[in-house]
Structure formats: C-alpha cells, structure tokens
C-alpha cells in the first residue's frame, strides 16, 4: 500500500511538473463548457438537468466524446515514457511488485482526471441556482463519468505498455475507445439492426461504454453497469501486467 502511494505521489508530481495535467484540465473545462453552453444551449432549453434534455445531450452526455481524445493524452506517457527513459529497469528492480507500480501509475492518472471533473462544480452550482434539478442524478452522472474515464485510462495504460512511442500509444488507445463508444452509439446500433439479429446487436452494445454510461447518468446506479466499468479496468490492467512481463522476458 505504501509503495503504491509512493508511486502515485511521484506520478502526480510528474503530471504537474510538466504541463500535461494543466493542459488537460484547462482544455477539458473549456470544451465541457463549450458543449454544454454553446452546442447544447444550456440557457435556452430551460431544463434543469445535466444529462439529457429533450433536444440533445447535456453536460455529461458529451463526456464520452471529450474523454475519447483527452484521456489517452493524459495516460499515454504512463509506461511508454518509462520504457523510453529506461527508468522501467530502475522501477522494476526496486523491492516492489509490478502490480504496485501498475496501480500506482493508474491511480495517479485517474486522480488528474478526477481533479478536472471536480473543477466542473460551477456547472452544478449554476443548474441549482437556476432551477431544481435532481441532485441524485447529477451525483450519479459524476460517478459514471469518473468510472468511464477510468475505463479509458486503463485502455491507455495497456496501449502505453506496448510501445515506447507515446503517439502510437495515444492512437491505439483512441481507436479502442472509439470502438467501445460506437458499439452502443444509437446511430450505429440503428444501422446494425437492419441486417443483424437483435440479440447480436444487444450483445455488441453490451460491450459499449455508451450503454452503461447512459443508464448511470440517468441516475440509475445499477450494479451491472458499475461491474462493467470495473471489469474493463481489471481486464486492461491485467493485460498491462502481462505485456510488461512479456516485454521483460524478451
């Protein structure tokens, strides 16, 4: 536990010593604001919600798309930088287990996203000032958004363990994440329905972050949705450890 925290602290310092964390937080806040207020017309729709209005997705509804590019940008350095600098050799010859290193790094990058998400609190204040939203639903939205970011990050951890090149790690992570979005994105599922059995479409959609995030952000905290995100993270981090072990074994 102590070792995980030591590594998390180091990684967090690394994020804030380089501009990565600040750039991510600022761009995330700008884009979240832009989509909420300009695209979704927060002030004009006259509905006190942060999830879904009758016209378009609201605040949380844009998160899967924002995270698609921003989260891999945060996580891409996680392991590829270690490999490029050669510090992975130092880290893994320390008296720690590889799992402590994997978790420590993952938690640090997750914390960066969590900070960015927490800094969207003015939106929450605004919607409470203007109307009477269901705050339980909003809390659900935040939890779902954080879980989704964690799932994307674990995918990025995995791709970044594969290569010493951060750009490659970024692109592969974006592609995998995009697949996980599109598998349950209504326009895509609508198209699939025209030529595949409904159960196949449901099966594919069950793999999508959209399907699971959708219900959480409506305020339905279903254990199956939480289990989905947790298992994506567990699977990807496990794969990360396998990749690192295979890389060391040569």
């Amino acid at each position: 536990m102590g070792n995980i925290w030591t590594i998390t602290k180091r990684e967090l310092r690394g994020y804030f010593a380089s501009p990565v964390a600040f750039v991510f937080i600022v761009i995330f806040l700008l884009l979240a604001g832009f989509f909420t207020f300009m695209i979704a017309q927060f002030f004009k729709v006259g509905q006190a919600t942060l999830s879904q209005t009758s016209y378009s997705p609201m605040f949380f509804g844009w998160h899967p798309w924002l995270y698609l590019f921003l989260v891999p940008a945060v996580g891409m350095r996680m392991w590829s930088e270690e490999r490029r600098l050669g510090t992975i050799e130092l880290l893994l010859t320390m008296p720690i287990t590889p799992w402590q290193a994997i978790l420590g790094k993952f938690l640090a990058s997750w914390a960066v996203v969590a900070i960015a998400l927490a800094l969207t609190f003015p939106v929450w204040i605004t919607v409470n000032y203007l109307g009477n939203p269901d705050n339980g639903v909003i809390v659900g939205g935040y939890i779902g958004s954080l879980l989704m970011a964690g799932a994307y990050l674990s995918i990025t951890a995995m791709t970044s363990a594969m290569t010493r090149n951060q750009v490659v790690a970024f692109i592969v992570a974006v592609v995998i994440s995009l697949f996980l979005i599109l598998a349950g994105f209504p326009p895509v599922t609508d198209m699939l329905v025209t030529w595949a059995q409904p159960w196949i479409v449901d099966l594919i959609a069950a793999f999508s972050v959209m399907t699971h995030f959708e219900s959480i952000q409506k305020g339905v905290l279903d254990s199956r949705d939480i289990l989905y995100f947790v298992s994506v993270m567990a699977f990807c981090l496990f794969t990360t450890s396998t990749i690192i072990r295979a890389h060391r074994a040569g």
Binding site: I7, R13, S18, G86, T87, E89, L92, T93, T97
Partner: protein
C-alpha cells in the same frame, strides 16, 4: 552474497547468455569484462531481477531471486546501463523517491539522501531538475540512487561510462572503498579500471565465461607475460637477438624496436623469468653492450582480452 548458477537466457533462437556460473563474496569486487553484446548487461539484468532467466538460479544472500524476489531485491543496489532517471524530478526529489521505495521515511529518508548527495558530490545540483543536468551529473545521480540504502550487494553496469577522468577516478575510489564491506559486480570496457579496482575479473564472450581470476592471474595469460624485455642504447639488433636467443633456457628472442635497441626474450618456462633476466644481464656485461633497461613483463590485460575474445575466424585472419 551473490550466487549464480548455470544462467541461460535466450532471446528467440539466439542465446544471449549461455551457462554462466560464478559467486561473489562480501569484500570482493568482481569486474565483468567482455566485448559489446557478450551478455554482460543481460546477466546483470537477470541478477537484479529485471528479466527472468530462461534457465538457472540466482541467489542473493539467502534469498532466491526467482522464488522470492522482494527480499532479494532489498539487498541489491543497481545502476543500470546508461544510468536512467526520471527527468522531470529534481535530484533530491528523485533520491527521496527511491529512498521511499526502499522503505525509508521521515528522518531516515532525509539522512540517506544527505549521505549520498555528499558521497556523490551532488550538493550543487540538488534542487536542479534532472533533465537540465550534464551527463556526468546524471550518472552520479543514478549511482547515488543505487547506494541510498547502503546495500550489501551492488550491481553496476558501466559505472564510469561517460564520466570525465576526474569523475572516473572518484567513482573508482568509491567502488574500491565500498568493496571492502560489500559484494560488488561491475562491468566495464576499460581494462585499467579492472586492475585499479577489482579483486577478481571475469571475461565473458558470446554468453560464456572464458576467463575467471585475479587481474594478476589473467595478465599471466598474455602471450608476452613472463618475457624479458631488454633495452640497449646502441648495438647491432640481429647480432644481439641471435646471441640472447642462444642462451640456455630461452626459447627465442626478437627485436621489437631500434633506437633504443629493444629485444624481447621468451624463456622456456615462465617461472624461469628471473633466471633468464640474470643470464641476459651477465651476457650484456661480458659483451659490453650498453644496457639501459631490463625487466620482466607482467603481460597486459588488453592482450589477454584480445586473445580470448577475438572470434576464431578473425584470429586466423590477423595471423
């Protein structure tokens, strides 16, 4: 402290390390020599637990590196090749981080960081970020990391690579001093370093140990070891060589330089070098050759190194 037995490592079909065994006790400094790609770094990476061996066993102290890596790793300080460190941290921050991973905190951690900063002359740069440092300082920072927990076992992969002559001297002195109480393995390309620092040297070539002994023993394996080198201010080379070569107990003598005239005489037996030298001295006095210098050659490590590690085909070609 370090026990390595039948270590093998294959990368695909290629055997990088092929059956390496040795031990290093406390108080020993083992020099690891070999051409590039001989398997030095791979062996060190296996000893420190970074890569698992294909076959063989590694024991550090009483702990098996493969079955029980954490206690084994606790005993080791490791300086990897190229001395990597986190470039976004300050020197003191980086050393503090490694101290924490070594299980130190609070006062103990502060003291450990201070100690290695002083030992490795990092005082001037302690608050500087690693990516602004010159190569020598980076190297010393990583070296400081390896001794932060005062380990019983030190594994140093080319600890003097990229340092200037003064820094090299400092690091060698440090290694020699620490070698009195620790078990140290270090690899190097620089042969004088082995003579200056090591109590024992191992030459490794194409994944196998081809020589193992004290630097003195190894030097004895040089073709010129035990030969008598004699120098005259003046004289007829062919005549001198012929007369020296005719002395009893001498195999052959050859002229290796004119002006001053230098002749090298090879005795039948290496143990007879002293007698040979005396005989040549007497001959020179009798013939009134102007003797300038006469000594028994110790042999040079680079000759041994070349004769052992040059691939056979190349050896044929140079003949």
């Amino acid at each position: 402290m370090i026990q390595v037995r039948d270590l093998k490592k294959n990368f695909g079909p290629k055997a990088a390390v092929n059956g390496v065994s040795f031990t290093v006790e406390r108080g020993e400094v083992l020099g690891f020599l070999g051409p590039n790609g001989a398997g030095k770094s791979t062996t060190m990476r296996m000893i420190t637990g970074f890569i698992p061996p294909t076959e063989g066993s590694i024991k550090i102290g009483d702990h098996d590196m493969l079955e029980n890596p954490l206690p084994a790793k606790r005993l080791i300080g490791y300086l990897p090749e190229n001395a990597p460190s986190y470039t976004d941290m300050t020197v003191a921050g980086f050393l503090g981080f490694t101290a924490e991973l070594r299980g130190m905190s609070g006062d103990a951690k502060k003291k450990a960081v201070e100690r290695v900063i002083e030992m490795c002359f990092l005082e001037n740069v302690r608050h500087q970020s690693v990516d602004t440092l010159s190569k020598g300082y980076r190297h010393r920072t990583c070296f400081a990391q390896s001794i932060i927990h005062d380990p019983d076992v030190l594994v140093l992969d080319e600890p003097t690579d990229g340092l200037d002559p003064n820094q090299k001297h400092e690091v060698r002195t440090l290694i020699r001093r620490m070698g009195e109480k620790k078990a140290i393995i270090f690899s190097t390309h620089i042969l004088e370093e082995v003579e200056a620092v090591c109590s024992r040297a191992v030459i490794i070539d194409r994944g196998k140990i081809v020589a193992n002994g004290t630097p003195r023993d190894l030097k004895m394996r040089a073709p010129t070891a035990g030969a008598v080198l004699v120098q005259f201010t003046d004289g007829n080379g062919a005549d001198v060589a012929q007369k020296v070569g005719a002395l009893p107990g001498i195999d052959r003598a050859e002229v290796v330089g004119e002006r001053p005239l230098t002749v090298r005489a090879y005795p039948h037996k290496r143990s007879a070098s002293e007698d040979t030298a005396r005989a040549i001295n007497e001959l020179a006095a009798k013939e009134r050759w102007p003797l300038q210098q006469l000594h028994v050659e110790e042999g040079r490590l680079d000759e041994v190194f070349r004769s052992i590690t040059l691939p056979d085909t190349k050896k044929e070609a140079t003949k």
